[in-house]
Subunit: 232 residues, 2 copies
Amino acid sequence: MQAIVASTSTVYGSSYLEYLLPELKTHFENTDEVVFIPFARPGGISHEEYTAKASKGLKSCVKKVIGLHEFEDMNKAISNAKAIFVGGGNTFLLVKQLHELDLMTTLKQSIQSGAKYLGTSAGSNICGLTMQTTNDMPIVYPPSFETLGLLNFNLNPHYQDPDSSSTHKGETRETRIKEFQALNPTAVVGLREGSWIKINNSETTLEGELPAVIFEPGKLPYELNPKSYFKF
Amino acid sequence: MQAIVASTSTVYGSSYLEYLLPELKTHFENTDEVVFIPFARPGGISHEEYTAKASKGLKSCVKKVIGLHEFEDMNKAISNAKAIFVGGGNTFLLVKQLHELDLMTTLKQSIQSGAKYLGTSAGSNICGLTMQTTNDMPIVYPPSFETLGLLNFNLNPHYQDPDSSSTHKGETRETRIKEFQALNPTAVVGLREGSWIKINNSETTLEGELPAVIFEPGKLPYELNPKSYFKF
């Protein structure tokens, strides 16, 4: 299994996917075609617009990006794909469609059988056991919160540290994750923007320049340094 | 119908419910007993701990606060209640239990029949048509996202304006609400901390010192000033 699971598509001050391009050039080496799943529709943009954006972002790495919505048989398209990119946006919208179109299992099998995977934000959330540590609004009602389970933990992308100077009384990200763990015995990785997880067969490492925050049930949160392995 | 629907239980620099007490003294005048629904469990605290907190917060207004979990017949307790307070925490957890215990309809009927209502945060979210504009994490899977519909719009409590100086690339609150409206023709009120909505029979007004942000489908967001009526 070869997967890049990124906190964000874009870091401040650079263009879409730009910071990931050195990694993606290796990841997608000898890959002519990437199947793009645009279902998360950030900001409500259309599947066509989103696929054009992905195509532009990946143009220095791959020859062709095709939106999954263009295929008559989406299950077959995913099964046959050599590379798959699931873009960010709203995780509820993405997960609803993957379940309703019966694509979740096919997607998992395709990645486990060797399709090179790239996920950003919502497309990374679905690599965890469930989507229950997403930051997104429940704008649609999915038939289930279960996701791919390529990782044996959950992800919180765009992780933000508690701001001790804030006067805002809404929950911090840390509080929300602890509320999740009061009811679910699942580890959660808070992945800061600019970080990504690299799955290279049996090795899963943290990439990028920042540490990640690890929430294991019953333990105090701790930081994991870049280039470390995920072993919990 | 008499309801106070508050963005937050607590504003910066004051204690639990303190800023609302002048309003609550009038609202709960001649009310001996308030039934408190602790199901949203902020930070994972127990029903008992949360009820004790509510009781302390309301002690200058009402003689007795009883947790709903203390009643054998919860439906009857809600039907018979003269006053009901639903506290904040996690909206998914709250809504799941209200549906599974078959309390949503009873709660609506009780409020519409005259039980004085107070909601904060998650307890305010449920006054809208659906809980789909909550900020909370989906830590449990509710059987439905539908809520009380005491208001003919949805709420976004703890509303925060986009921060133009931020380097964070996660979605702003405004972007999330627009994603919701790309798929749902429902107006949304962004209720800033320190603001509350007061339902006094047929009049619904904005209270507190700050304007609210109104998102009507197909319109640019606009501000509604304190003491204005909600008419959309």
